[in-house]
Subunit: 220 residues, 2 copies
């Protein structure tokens, strides 16, 4: 008996096995569209960018919790789970920073394909690196969200004491102090995380996702 997978089926190699018979999953296409239909929402990449201390990780995690409570499949990529894992071989040279963002873009693409709304929270100061991540996926799948707290606000918070070390010259090439932050020119959303409350910031992103059809608008 010969399996006859649909055109473009990932099971084109089924006939390798010889004994394939025509049971349902031979014809199944488990792609992003099928996952979206099963899960009830489409996937997306929410790429948070901004200075250290601008609240990227805080906003991404709060939004993650909000979306989780709505039953959506979500995941946050941030320094905690990337720098000590996938990118533990990388340092902070220019080349390593580029490679770090490249890998995060590629992993985000995998999560997108898997049907997950993935939230990335990295300074990602260079436009070219962010644009490269954007270019990996279709238009409409990538949402660049600029956490736009002023340098003064971020340095005033300095939750990890990094600005103090950068000012003292202990940390070299620190974004905002001794290395540039290239402000996004046309992000899908700019959130003034220096002025807005966390609730207001979450609401702003939720509104964006509703407007773009990633989230259904909830009845009040």
């Amino acid at each position: 008996m010969t399996a006859t997978p649909a055109a473009g089926s990932p099971y084109g190699a089924l006939t390798d096995q010889g004994a394939a018979t025509n049971i349902a999953w031979h014809e199944a296409t488990v792609d992003r569209a099928a996952r979206a239909q099963q899960r009830g929402h489409r996937s997306a990449i929410l790429w948070f960018t901004g200075l250290s201390g601008s609240g990227k990780s805080t906003l991404a995690n709060a939004l993650n919790a909000e979306l989780f409570q709505r039953g959506l499949a979500t995941y946050v990529l941030d320094g905690d789970n990337i720098r000590h894992g996938l990118c533990s071989d990388l340092g902070f040279t220019d080349a390593d920073r580029v490679e770090n963002i490249r890998r995060i873009g590629e992993v985000s693409k995998l999560f997108l394909d898997a049907g997950v709304i993935v939230l990335t929270a990295f300074v990602s100061p260079f436009r070219a690196d962010r644009d490269r991540a954007r270019a990996l996926v279709e238009a409409g799948d990538f949402f660049e969200i600029h956490c736009a707290a002023d340098l003064g606000v971020c340095e005033g918070r300095d939750p990890k004491g990094l600005y103090a070390k950068a000012r003292a010259g202990v940390i070299k090439d620190f974004t905002g102090i001794s290395s540039p932050y290239e402000v996004p020119e046309a992000p899908e959303l700019r959130v003034d995380t220096g002025a807005l409350s966390l609730e207001e910031s979450v609401a702003a992103v939720v509104a964006l996702l509703e407007a773009r059809g990633v989230l259904q608008r909830l009845e009040a």
Copy 2:
């Protein structure tokens, strides 16, 4: 108003934002356990290993379709979505092969954490590399599945013509011909993909996952 996140909450940084108020997601912990509870199943890494042509990708994709039809969150990592993306910078030197498997292990860990059953389909011929991937996660989360078709069977299939090129010396260091395949000594499952039908192979993995509590046994 001061936010008081639970101990171990990922929202410990909430107070950065100052204006945090005590709405529900401030206390939410969106971890692997919460995702498992919401989704109704726990996550796992199913690490398929075996010679080229042994049916790893075929089995992983068929199992993926089977699990998808049961409503589970799953994803397949294989050469198609890894070699041209995350690992497009890597070649086939010894060091690059080690790094390739290292990254796949790290990405698998991220999917595991995200609540997804991830199926990896790579030759992964070296025991040390597989053991390193296993060591990234807790015991019981990693299932090594040896697709154990004989070399003769695999070479007879040669779906991509790779064995012919290896025999001709066009491809160097080809696993099984000019580079060793280190047979898993204690895999969670060994499937004779040379003798079993695809249905039988899928059933064998499903039985393993039922026995280990990843899948609920379905009523007949």
